[in-house]
Amino acid sequence: MNGARIHGIVLSGVGGQGVLSMAQIVLEALRRSGFHALQSEIHGMSQRGGSVHAQVCYADQPISSPLIDDGCADLLIALEPLEALRYVPMLRISGHLVVAEDPIADMEGYPPLEDVHAALRAVRGSHLLDTEALARKLAHKQAGGMALLGMASRFLPVAESLWQDVIAQRFAAKGEKVTAKNLEAFEAGRNLIGEGVGA
């Protein structure tokens, strides 16, 4: 088999965490980097505090499938640890996972958090982020999502300046202060993972 290589990213979390919004940033960054890219998302009931996930595919040539097959994703970005575990089987053996440690555990049967964290650490290529600690450090309650994106950016073929452009554009309507806070969170996340890791 010498077919084209199509890259896949899975984003997951809980309704209201901003999964779809992050997927749109990733889509835009890849598109502006010259890739053919598309994004798939599920709306509806999932907006009411249920699991939410989105997928972004990209390649050098035009693509048409909105869905990534199990075992074919290169990167999983998870805003919630249990929602990360759900999608681990979508990752290639060589795939990477960036995940927030802080749970949204307002449900029955949520496994003990240390078990969830242990299971995530056992996944090769996983990078956990203590989003709460980072938010405290940056004095920015919402820093976690952008920091995760910063970590994830190490595994995506997008120039750092382009990420900054896309993020700045995304938050432009909310003013300079909000934009600066988000760029700061992105950088903090990006610096947590060494350069060249994703190459």
């Binding site: 199509i6 798939s40 709306h43 009931m45 499938s65 199990d70 090769r124």
Partner: protein, 554 residues
């Protein structure tokens, strides 16, 4: 002017309708169709002074008739709905096949295979076939745009409404697409006098128009023929592809170039011409069919009896649910990659649930306590479609039947006529406007012993807080339908009002005959977003204006 735009599939279709010069867009919210209307609405707003309109309707049938009236008046129109919404609009849709159209009319219907947010996974292609009307089925966001243009051109050329069928994965797939030049909504002029009788479906005209519709079928097939094709290959094993089946297969060919050698039949438009099916079946001994939802193409090919046809009917593809790349790979015998191992932890389902502080929860708690107080803790409660359907789940488990829009009231009446006491219906304000009104009229007329609870959160909550058509009018509607004022109560679902609400609900349950309880508190999501701020400000100013009759607000 050509440019790249990034949007969802259902939005690309709306953009195309705008660019193709629609005068109006109409619809009723329903996942995954909602964003289509909203996109058209936003375009119309930006185009202030352009003479275009966009209106949500009380239900899908009303929306369809609005579009049909606009067509009669000589203008292009778009009407959007989800698949089960087409059931509601079916009377209008099927009969508009006989009247035909004047201005182009495109029905954008979004199916939901896999039932992500729906009560069934019916296939709208069957309804197009049933109505003898054309259906175009895009497989990519660009096609969603291009096919919508095509649909308007076909609608006017063939003088019939044209269905554009999307499915969830395409409706909610975001990708770039190329646009065409924008046409102004100039129109083609009012239905001429000579054609007026075509629109009057009394039997003598309808018989003639049905013959005309059947006579158009070869032209419909010709129009579809331009969009369907055979891609020849080698070997006697082939694939037949429609909708997302085309999209998934097309991408698999990129990854597995050897698949390009398979002979394939690609279907993008219906009705499919039999000659094409025959020609394809002549090239293969076995064909795998990949289409989204019902085995429509599969059955047609199977009936020809010329090759072994495989798909949903023989289990090569799962009988229910949506397609996926994995389903295609398995059916084609392709190796599937080994991914990372799943964690050995048990992962509980994270089900959707009521928002923190939602008034529906307070209302249900009052209803349940009142039922216990009147000695009917096990009473079966008829529910309806909306956020409040979430109460069917534990821990509330407060509703025990949910079928289709508006069913709660009529089912409660039916059960009461069978002797069930108490018979309680729970319905949202928008669903009440959608199809609860005739049901409540019947309840009042039959003096049925039912308690109808209207959960009025002032918006269509589930689909994104669109304004409800019954906004600020529920009580007036209830009274107008024949419910006596003494048997109507309005309550505020708040924990602090719980005791009063239980008492009022109890009184309604004990009342012999129809009674209505309205629980009103705005959806906390719309409140947070300020959706009704402008509306409420205008209403206050209006009420304060001495030259106007004050609004009746209760």
């Amino acid at each position: 002017m050509t440019q790249h735009t990034l949007a969802l599939g259902v939005e690309a279709a709306a953009q195309a309708a705008f660019d193709a010069g629609i005068k109006g867009a109409f619809g009723y919210p329903g996942t995954p169709s909602t964003e289509g209307f909203e996109y058209a609405e936003a375009l119309v707003k930006q185009d202030a002074g352009g003479g275009r309109v966009a209106h949500w309707a009380a239900n899908e049938k009303v929306a369809y008739d609005l579009a049909l009236g606009m067509s009669y008046a000589g203008h292009r129109s778009l009407v959007t709905m989800k698949h089960v919404g087409l059931n509601v609009a079916m009377d209008a849709y099927a009969n508009s096949a006989l009247t035909g159209v004047q201005g182009g009319l495109v029905l954008l219907v979004a199916d939901d295979p896999g039932m992500h947010s729906s009560q069934n996974e019916q296939d709208s292609r069957r309804l197009a076939e049933f109505a003898w009307l054309p259906c175009l089925e895009p497989s990519t966001v660009q096609e969603a745009y291009d096919f919508t243009w095509r649909a308007f051109e076909l609608s006017e050329a063939l003088q019939v409404p044209v269905m554009l069928r999307l499915v969830t994965r395409l409706a909610h797939c975001r990708a770039p697409f190329q646009r065409r030049e924008v046409l102004a909504p100039t129109g083609v002029g009012l239905t001429p006098k000579a054609r007026v009788q075509d629109w009057v479906l009394i039997p003598s005209n309808a018989r003639r128009r049905y013959v005309d519709l059947l006579a158009k079928q070869p032209r419909l097939r010709e129009a579809a023929a331009a969009m369907n094709r055979i891609v020849p290959g080698t070997g006697r094993r082939g694939v037949a592809l429609a909708g997302l089946g085309r999209a998934y297969f097309g991408q698999l060919v990129l990854e597995h170039p050897e698949l390009a050698a398979l002979p394939r039949l690609e279907v993008a438009a219906y009705p499919v011409q039999p000659e094409l099916e025959q020609a394809f079946l002549g090239q293969v001994d076995e064909v795998l069919v990949f289409e989204e939802d019902y085995p429509v193409l599969e059955e047609r090919l199977g009936l020809r009896g010329r090759a072994r046809v495989r798909g949903r009917l023989d289990g090569a593809v799962p009988r229910t649910g949506e397609l996926s790349p994995r389903i295609l790979k398995d059916a084609l015998g392709l190796a599937t990659p080994e991914g990372k191992a799943a964690a050995s932890l048990e992962l509980p389902v994270r089900a959707p649930r009521f928002c923190e502080g939602c008034g529906h929860v307070d209302a249900y708690e009052a209803i349940q306590e009142a039922l216990r107080n009147v000695g009917a803790p096990e009473a079966r409660v008829f529910g309806d479609i909306g956020c409040y359907t979430l109460a069917a789940q534990e821990p509330l488990a407060a509703i025990h039947a949910v079928v289709e829009m508006g069913a709660s009231i009529s089912m409660a009446v039916g059960a009461s006529l069978a002797g069930q006491t108490p018979s309680v219906a729970v319905i949202g304000d928008s669903t009440f406007a959608h199809s609860g009104l005739p049901a409540l009229l019947t309840a009042a007329e039959a003096k049925a012993n039912v308690t109808v609870v209207v959960l009025d959160n002032r918006v269509v909550g589930m689909t994104g807080q669109q304004p409800s058509q019954a906004l600020d009018q529920v009580e007036r509607l209830v009274l107008g339908l024949g419910i006596p004022e003494a048997d109507l109560q309005t309550l505020t679902p708040l924990p602090s009002r719980h005791a009063d609400n239980v008492a009022a609900m109890e009184a309604a349950l004990r009342h012999a005959g129809p009674s209505v309880v309205v629980f009103r508190r705005e959806c906390i999501q719309s409140l947070r977003r300020g959706v009704l701020k402008e509306h409420d400000r205008e209403a206050r100013e209006h009420a304060a204006c001495s030259s106007c009759t004050p609004e009746v607000t209760r």
